[in-house]
Amino acid sequence: MTVSPLAAWSDRLAALAPVLDAAEVPFRSQLTVRVSDPDAIAAMGSTLGVGFPSAACTFTSGTGPCGDVEVLWLGPDEFLVTAPPDQQVTIEEVLRGALGTAWGSVVDTSAQRTTVVLQGPRVRDVLAHGCSVDLHPASAPRGTCVQTLLARTGIVLQVTGDDRVTVLVRSSFAGYLAAWLVDACTEYLAVP
């Protein structure tokens, strides 16, 4: 049986409600794409049905032949394509086909990170305990995607709604991050 990195934390994360609705979304398909050729980037976007983000620190999302797909900007020639579980083989083939003979790479990195969705009116306050990026809606609107540090561990953070973020964290750091989240929420939880 495959156990997700935060399977042992599901009860403790659920107990953070109503301060934070926190839950792991395990086993998402993730592919790291390195490409700088604009034609290849456009071709990859059109085969997925989701254009690749053109601005730094943003992500795009949509539905296409491979289902619901998000494309995250990680660097000027680096993207992360994410999708529901068990899509990685299909998407890898589709993207490699679109890359053609252009310089680049498509690598399945699904096991590298797990996904945590955080939602609630306190989400920014909790994250501010360990993340220096300004997450105020004026500077981090929906569609923002930043690679940064949260409590000294590397994360990819997507702003997906008004009070909703998705955090991608390396699988081996996920337990540490969950423990940190539980601790950071303590002061907002009602005293029993």
Binding site: A56, C57, L74, G75, P76, E78, S132, V133, V146, Q147, T148, L149, R152, G154
Partner: protein, 93 residues
């Protein structure tokens, strides 16, 4: 903590960055022609100015790209940042 403006990601905490020493140190055109002393000067000898200094920085925890910055070594002020391949901008310290 000091914020460093990554040319790709914008201002980020200093802890996200890695220092890479003096910028614009050209690799010798014909390394094998260098004497031991000339090679040692290329590998080990760097400027140590009091004032503006062009340096390499890497945004380790972010976009993972190297870039250049002009930093005033007296104040730790970052006077300018620019991408690899771009010329060093004029700065007034």
């Amino acid at each position: 903590m000091q914020l460093i403006p990554c040319p790709w990601c914008g201002p980020r905490e200093e802890a996200e960055f890695h220092y890479g020493g003096q910028a614009h140190v050209a690799y010798p055109e014909d390394p094998s022609a260098l004497t031991d002393e000339e090679w040692a000067r290329y590998v080990f000898f760097r400027e140590n100015p009091s004032g503006p200094f062009a340096e390499r920085w890497s945004h380790n925890a972010g976009c993972r790209r190297w870039f250049n910055a002009v930093r005033d070594t007296r104040t730790h002020d970052l006077l300018a940042v620019y991408r690899v391949g771009e010329p060093m901008p004029e700065v007034t310290a």
